[in-house]
Symmetry: C2
Subunit: 310 residues, 2 copies
């Protein structure tokens, strides 16, 4: 398939931005693949998000950081809000669920963006573990392969848990916030487990929107730091270790890295929802880094062709 796409892209003599190349390449693939799998974000953003996420993921897996050259300036570019437009009833249920949750969270925390972050992450780390357990039990029950969902979802949950542990050291939650977290966990685990059993499409879409909200919450956090409302203290050791930050890194750098992770979760969950909806519940999901590498291959091929025919 990839080779076919490369040839078609090359034959079309595509030139220009990564976005155009990607568009032409996917158009060449035929009707059911007319669009990029992550087409609600721009290809440039997709590339940055994928790289930012691969960084700590690869460190955990093979003990090396990747890519070494991703800077905080790169991460600044991820402030842009992307929104997956609800397309059907299930999308709208998901969107409205999160709208209600978000209103409630903002009412509870108001301007305390750091405290907001701690509690947000205790909830954000639930869906990945519920969904991965569901897929695991499904694989056992049907005695069929899982096709790479379990590990990705566990990785998501672990990443969110690390966000929590990082914010915990920067912010001491109050007693009332801890009580809130206990109640929220019991309610949310029950709610999300039921939702996942009834409709995995709606469940992953809900996480997609939850992560859109998380992304906005971290935009607000950054703004509060820039305005001086929250002091830009030095980053703590746990954050510096996890993200491989330099000695003089600050809280702001940590927020930038965490926000990039939320972009990745947002887009991966929207993709999983799309995938199940299009009958791909037994397909291997396309991780962003795969789509990025595919686009690059297409571009390289078309560039070579251009040069050769010039």
């Amino acid at each position: 398939l990839v080779r076919g796409m490369q040839m078609q892209a090359a034959r079309a003599g595509v030139q220009g931005s990564l976005a155009e190349v990607a568009l032409k390449a996917t158009q060449a693939r035929g009707f059911h693949l007319l669009r990029r799998k992550y087409d609600w974000v721009e290809p440039e953003a997709e590339e940055l998000i994928a790289k930012a996420y691969e960084r700590h993921k690869r460190y955990q897996e093979v003990g090396e950081s990747f890519p070494p050259a991703l800077s905080c300036e790169n991460l600044e570019a991820l402030g842009k809000v992307y929104h997956y437009e609800p397309k059907n009833l299930r999308d709208k249920i998901a969107y409205n669920t999160v709208q209600v949750l978000e209103k409630f969270m903002f009412l509870f925390f108001r301007e305390k963006y750091d405290h907001h972050a701690v509690c947000l992450e205790t909830v954000a780390a639930v869906p990945g573990i519920v969904a991965s357990a569901h897929r695991h039990l499904r694989s056992l029950r049907t005695m069929k392969r899982d096709h790479g969902w379990i590990a990705s979802l566990q990785e998501e949950a672990e990443n969110e848990r690390l966000h929590l542990l990082i914010w915990m050291q920067h912010t001491k939650p109050t007693f009332i916030e801890r009580a809130f977290v206990m109640t929220a966990q019991a309610a949310f685990v029950t709610f999300y487990t039921g939702m996942y059993a009834l409709s995995p499409v709606t469940a992953h879409r809900t996480v997609g929107y939850l992560e859109e909200a998380a992304h906005k919450a971290y935009n607000d956090y950054l703004e509060a730091i820039d305005k001086g409302d929250i002091p830009n203290v030095p980053a703590l050791v746990i954050a510096k270790n996890y993200y491989h930050l330099p000695e003089d890194a600050t809280l702001r750098d940590v927020v930038l890295h965490v926000r990039a992770d939320e972009c990745m979760h947002r887009d991966f969950n929207h993709h999983l929802s799309d995938l199940i909806q299009s009958g791909g519940i037994d397909d291997h999901p396309t991780e962003m880094i795969d789509e990025v590498n595919e686009m690059k291959t297409n571009k390289a091929t078309s560039d070579t062709k251009q040069t050769a025919s010039a």
Copy 2:
């Protein structure tokens, strides 16, 4: 601590088998560490089990097999039955739970050891995922670190799931067996989740005994192959990939490797139960490979001392 132990072991001028060295070394550590963490198996067996398990674990994590020189003859040595003697009421509850389950399984499957294996694995892959989810949610709720339990338990569950997928390709389960599995999963997930919430000590001990039963089931499987009751067909691709077996590997080789994994789960879960019981619910568990490496260091140190004073 390790350095202190080495010095004490060296001072004691220990000589002899790995077992003796290990015993003296742990005795030197003081009262609460009077015994080896995995003292219900012999150190020689512990070393083999740890190596067999590290093999596919490391392959998944860093893409290389370890150690390359572990042979099927090594694995033959793991037929010996080790039993953790029940010490208190919780241990006895765990032991009797498994006794009942085991009787029931043998009644259902009788001499069909290959079919027994398929259904056993659909149950065996449940505790790891339940326990890891429990630890994950606990870490979120208490906002405290997990200390390495989650990943190890997820790895156990994934390893059991792979056992299932391997046996699935060797044995086509009947309709009645599939129905049995569905019912068993619903019942066991509920049962084990409740048990883990009430008493993690009893839950891990139960898995320890469940794995003792699994070990015996694979002993029976091997005997059936050796007697010719089950034909020793060539190993399938999925098993050869997972365990890095040579081209001409057979079903018997696969059973040997799977049995080594069951030894590891047995011992790790007994250790986790011990650890919680001794108040170490927030400690990093001692993986077998760590204890083995520690024993080797002690032995090397004492050998050097011997040579120097000779």
